[in-house]
Amino acid sequence: MLATRWEPLTQMNRLRHEMDRLFDRWGDNRPQQYARNTFPPLNLWENDDNLFVEAELPGFALEDLEIMVTGGNQLSINGERKAPELEGGTWHRRERGFGKFNRALELPGYVDSENVSAEFKNGVLTITLPKREEVKPRRIEVKVS
């Protein structure tokens, strides 16, 4: 007999992922590999020498952000966006989020944590993480005998 435990939550999650995948194909084609509620969403790419991490952080200032690299491959970003304190009026819409966030990520390779640099421009944070020598790709010469 086939003994399958009925797990409604798992089933629902599976259904949701399937739906997300389906709609990603035709509609909103933004890439999504993580849960929707992780903040901030990150884009990561690399070239031969560096890893790059980018996040959209509107309304933050570089001094409100704390970027740390621990153990050579753990990146963490903390920050806070404070809600404006306004008086003598009413809110009609409140769609933007405020508060503290903390995001940690394991990088796909070891980086030289001494030389990590960050740039913050128009609300977009770009972190440049130089790769360690041993993880840089090396071209192997093939000798013709």
Partner: protein
């Protein structure tokens, strides 16, 4: 004191207006604050520079369009969690706005837009004379 601010958009977070370019347009998030003198709109539009932001107001229609220059060419993301595209949002403003005095500021990717109300719609305290 109520102001009608309405908008039409579809449910997937993207703007409904179609563009001629084949690019994704995102609907930026906005907070709207009203005082006796003005409406203030705060919008998150990271990546937009002041020269690429177009705001127009006509007959109670407020249109905000931010063009985002592609930041990366031909990059394959190892992790890609968000997309980059233009921003578009429009509002219908029910109040009479003094269009001449609309001002906008863009800082750290946040747009602050001040829409001052016309004199005639500002609430006025009525003096009652005792006879």
């Amino acid at each position: 004191m109520t102001t009608t601010l309405t908008e039409t958009k579809n449910g997937n977070g993207m703007s409904h207006a179609e563009t001629t370019r084949d690019a994704t347009t995102y609907c930026p998030r906005f907070d709207i604050w009203e005082t006796e003198d003005e409406l203030v709109l705060y919008g998150d539009m990271p990546g937009v520079t002041p020269e690429n932001l177009d705001i127009h107001y006509e007959n109670g229609q407020l249109g905000i369009h931010g063009k985002v220059c592609p930041r990366h060419d031909d990059i394959k993301f190892s992790y890609g969690e968000y997309g980059i595209g233009d921003y578009h949002r429009s509002f219908t403003v029910g109040e009479a706005i003094n269009a001449e005095k609309i001002s906008a500021e863009l800082k750290h990717g946040v747009l602050t837009l001040h829409l001052p109300k016309s004199e005639k719609v500002k609430p006025r305290k009525i003096e009652i004379k005792s006879g």
